[in-house]
Symmetry: C2
Subunit: 364 residues, 2 copies
């Protein structure tokens, strides 16, 4: 619910998060437990504070979170904003009883979404809604959000935790969030510098990231699989391990490339896969040829495609098929790009090239 106020007499929350309401008897009888909600956020308070950098005006916040762009070194820059959820991956997390990775899935997804425009993250606000407030679960989700924010140099500036009796199915929850980042106008990436002859360099995904989970769950259901099953080709991992592998953030390895102006365009491979996401940055008159075999993929993809009888073409639309992020760079910069990525601990793989065309993706 949106009833988000602090308890009478409580100090204003420096984090801009407003978790608590009073717990009057009639209200409790109506299915809303405010004490539980408050406990969930309290347990994450230290992690939230730890995510705060110099931009957060901690001692002033009350109803909304306050952010000082100048203190964060972002004055005069453009803001880039994105809202997203984690899809039905959250349902699978609930099913597996693992709540700590969902926060990182969401934050990293949002970080990657604005990174493709050249932006670095400044702050994040979350929305966590549940059928019934279970403080351990919700606390784990918010701690995960806060930890992922900190890892990305991003402040968890605020959020809302909502108990919604009668809206969500029993035990279910949803998690969404909004990221605000910044980019200098002269460093804004929109793909307009992409030219025929440029090279596509891909960074690997950890698994499905946050896409294709409704289909994945259907494959599991139809095949009678359990999340605890450990297919032999998984090298000891369970289906839950493989499916809940955390969406990667590419901020660390990619930012040094942006600092050196080595990227012409970049696509975050989310829903719609390579065929839908790469064209978003392609100028008219260009297309991309991708060599699928150039990118190794976690075994979960072949498992799902085989058991779900997903055709190859469809598989590249529903899943990322191992491609987490695709960078388009000048052919002459490829070695420098790969070396710079390697210096940041990341493997960049040449997976294709820009050719003449009509903004399509040809997967070979």
């Amino acid at each position: 619910m949106s009833e988000s106020t602090t308890t009478s007499g409580q100090e204003p929350r420096p984090d801009g998060r407003e978790p608590a309401r009073t717990a009057p008897s009639a209200y409790a009888a109506a299915g809303v437990d405010i004490d539980a909600k408050y406990g969930a956020v309290e347990s994450a308070r230290a992690a939230i504070k730890a995510s705060h950098g110099p931009g957060v005006l901690g001692d002033l916040g009350s109803f909304g979170g306050l952010f000082d762009l100048a203190a964060a070194g972002a004055e005069g820059q453009l803001l880039v904003a994105s809202t997203d959820g984690v899809g039905t991956k959250v349902k699978l997390a609930v099913q597996a009883g693992r709540y700590d990775g969902i926060g990182a899935d969401l934050v990293n997804h949002c970080v990657d979404d604005i990174l493709v425009q050249g932006a670095r993250p400044l702050f994040f606000l979350d929305y966590v809604a549940v059928d019934k407030m279970l403080p351990e679960r919700v606390g784990a989700v918010i701690r995960g959000l806060a930890d992922a924010c900190r890892a990305n140099g991003c402040a968890l500036l605020g959020g809302e935790t909502a108990e919604m009796p009668g809206v969500y199915r029993p035990e279910e929850m949803d998690v969404a969030g909004t990221i605000i980042g910044c980019v200098s106008r002269d460093r804004l990436l929109d793909g307009s510098r992409i030219r025929v002859g440029d090279v596509a360099v891909a960074l690997g995904s950890s698994g499905l990231h946050t896409n294709g989970f409704s289909l994945a769950r259907k494959v599991l259901d139809d095949g009678g699989f359990s999340l605890d099953d450990r297919p032999p080709e998984f090298g000891g991992e369970s289906l839950a391990d493989a499916l809940l592998a955390v969406h990667r953030s590419y901020l660390g390895p990619v930012m040094p490339l942006l600092d050196r102006d080595l990227v012409h365009g970049m696509a975050h491979i989310t829903g719609g896969g390579l065929p839908d996401n790469l064209p978003r940055v392609l100028p008219q008159g260009t297309a991309v040829r991708i060599e699928a075999a150039a990118m190794p993929r976690p075994p979960i993809f072949d498992f799902l495609c085989r058991h779900g009888r997903v055709a190859r073409e469809e598989s590249y639309r529903v899943f990322n098929m191992g491609f987490g992020m695709v960078l388009v760079v000048a052919a002459g910069d490829v070695d420098t790009v790969i070396e710079t990525l390697a210096a940041a601990g990341e493997t960049g793989r040449v997976v294709g090239e820009v050719v003449a065309g009509s903004r399509e993706v040809r997967i070979g």
Copy 2:
């Protein structure tokens, strides 16, 4: 779901909204209908565009929405951010089949939440999640969001529309959003200027706004009431009319007061009511005495309290009881404040005063 990409070949969406995915057969079989999702957002496109002011960099947006603070006249100001939902009011809207007001409920709630810190809204991003994508419903919600954004001088910069089979109950939806506003450092309101002897001036609510709906629904259920019932004291309105009355935005009437520096502190009366929200802006050593009878209230409050046997003290915590916003002003400025509000078409009522105390609210 978070799979939010544009269809291959489609132009980047200038509004930063990313509604569409491909609709492969296996995916559709798993319960996700992307065409429907796309239709919902398309129907709102004109309204979204109409909300865009000079700050929106419309022709550049792709993955995230781009905002130019300088073009919006906000350069050098602090950002104020808040995320919220509309609670289970959304469930009641679904029950009544009225989807157009929920957007204004959410946007106005968020506008009011940052207005109390002196901030004006810049842009908004929404999250709309449904059990099953029904384009008419979701389109109506997003158009409502966009229209409310425009009415508040705020750009609907982006959003996510998610179909979440198996998470929400059948027919249900949830709506949440994030607002980003700005305020000059020297106009930031935090209540620190409030002194004993100041006067509380209240602006009326239209009804429950977005708080207390779980209790309201319980009262209706327990009493066997229908949303179509028209209690005689409602003057012809139905219970649905009264309960779904849109959360008011106080931006229009309050901004002229802020421009003239006439406000010492301000509280948006949301969940927790007067007793929980007013203390959030009270300095140590002060308290507020409120004369409840000084504020007329819509009849829905007495209806719910009577049929729900809600004690008086509790009623002021669960509901706003007619108080939408409370401004604290210098005693010598009261006449000017009331006149300035009247010039903006708003009735301001003197409802109490600041006294010595321990940050409590005494309702008499």
